[in-house]
Assembly symmetry: C2
DNA sequence: TTATTGACATTGTCCGACAATGAGCGAGGC
DNA sequence: GCCTCGCTCATTGTCGGACAATGTCAATAA
């Protein structure tokens, strides 16, 4: 079966065939994440299209994180293209209280994620959750910047669900939140008060107590939302 | 405040300035959804960039549904660009049971949406939900293709939440599902058995009984998932 | 051995040209 | 008068070529 990748609405089939051809080429070449793609001129020649058309496809792939383009250096594959890969580009209008809106969407997703993780996680995933939680606690107690560790911890939970969609969607929502939120306000350590709750959350997930884990996650999100709301009110 | 729109990962700031300029131009021109944008050549000239660079931005906007491009005719604005619009590009790897994965993500979102709708919906939104439900029932009882009416009904619920993110994300997930699912199998009327449940669902939402509405929504999704699983098994 | 520097490769951007296609307008028939 | 058909034109889609910007890597000198 020939892999196919579409980044397009049903109406906008721009570059449909070029994408398919490029996926087939990458697949035939056996390229893996980290490998460099052939130069654009060669790709265009081998696919029988102009460089502009090829570039539009590569640009679209770069936007969704499939490839990474580096001027001067080449284009490297950043994500595997196995089987069928589908891109869901969606435009979100962020208005006044839009930051809280991203949280409103994240809440059910995060809670469902910890439920699924508690229910379905493999033993190795449970170990990883514990390890990430301990990392987070060490950094937090040491007074350092715990945001990266926090993301790693939650990413471990998302990975444990076995459904990559959770991690991707939540990650994009968080990135949108950070981009809009962190820039205007300084946002040093939003939600520090939630960190201690991560230990019982992790323990509940690892022990398979889904309801308890969901409850802790809900409390964490509640505090996060309250903190975000407070900061927004203070800066109004 | 100058509106800004970014469709890019933090690393891939391709066309960042052109996007900002185009947003400012659209905003200054007072263009609304349905209006036609100036031709590409004029846009490129007014923004002081080449047509190819402008086209990359327009292509990205077309992919996320902000504009609609029509060869021969022009480019029309499809979505409003008010305040900050942020794009969330997602690349999803669709493997064997990937269709069920989209459902797994949709479930918590849909359930949360009906909860919020039952709690917060404005009276006009509640009326619209009832109207869409009645439309759906008429078409279903008449034996016609009820899929469009079904989408309209759920869209009314998403709109009633007051949070456009729900409708957008769920809509994209559904589109991904349809694109992958409808093509290989015929997918005549997947989930017909769930339609009768839409009446009590709508009544619960309109009456503000959030828990009951969430329960009906969960049952609908459960049946949908079972139907999808059955069809997949049958075609294996 | 290490730092520097230069040639080279590769992506980013621009310009121009032509093809493909849809919209709008006018001529002609009823 | 009104409708239909066909033509012209505007607009997007695609291609080719060229140059700029920049990272990589090897050759060279201290």
């Amino acid at each position: 079966m020939v892999a196919s990748l579409h980044i397009a609405s049903p109406e906008t089939r721009v570059g449909h065939d070029v994408m398919d051809g490029l996926v087939a080429l990458v697949s035939a070449e056996g390229l893996k994440p980290g490998d460099r793609l052939p130069p654009e001129t060669e790709l265009a020649r081998r696919l029988g299209v102009g460089r502009h058309r090829l570039r539009e496809v590569l640009t679209a792939w770069a936007r969704v994180g499939i490839v990474s383009r580096n001027k001067g250096a080449g284009t490297v594959l950043a994500a595997p293209i196995t089987g069928r890969t589908l891109a869901l580009p969606l435009a979100v209008t962020l208005e006044a209280e839009s930051l809280l809106r991203t949280l409103a969407v994240r809440r059910p997703l995060e809670i469902e994620a910890v439920r699924l993780a508690a229910r379905d996680a493999a033993p190795t995933s449970r170990d990883r959750i514990t390890a990430r939680m301990l990392d987070l606690m060490v950094i937090f107690d040491g007074g350092g910047d715990w945001r990266a560790a926090d993301r790693a911890f939650h990413a471990a939970i998302h990975e444990a669900t076995g459904n990559p969609l959770f991690g991707q969607i939540i990650g994009q929502l968080q990135r949108a939140f950070d981009e809009v939120y962190a820039t205007p306000f300084g946002m040093p350590q939003l939600g520090s008060s939630t960190i201690p709750m991560h230990r019982p959350l992790a323990e509940a997930v690892v022990a398979g107590r889904a309801d308890e884990a969901a409850d802790w996650m809900a409390r964490i999100l509640e505090d996060t939302e309250a903190a975000a709301r407070a900061v927004m009110e203070g800066h109004r």
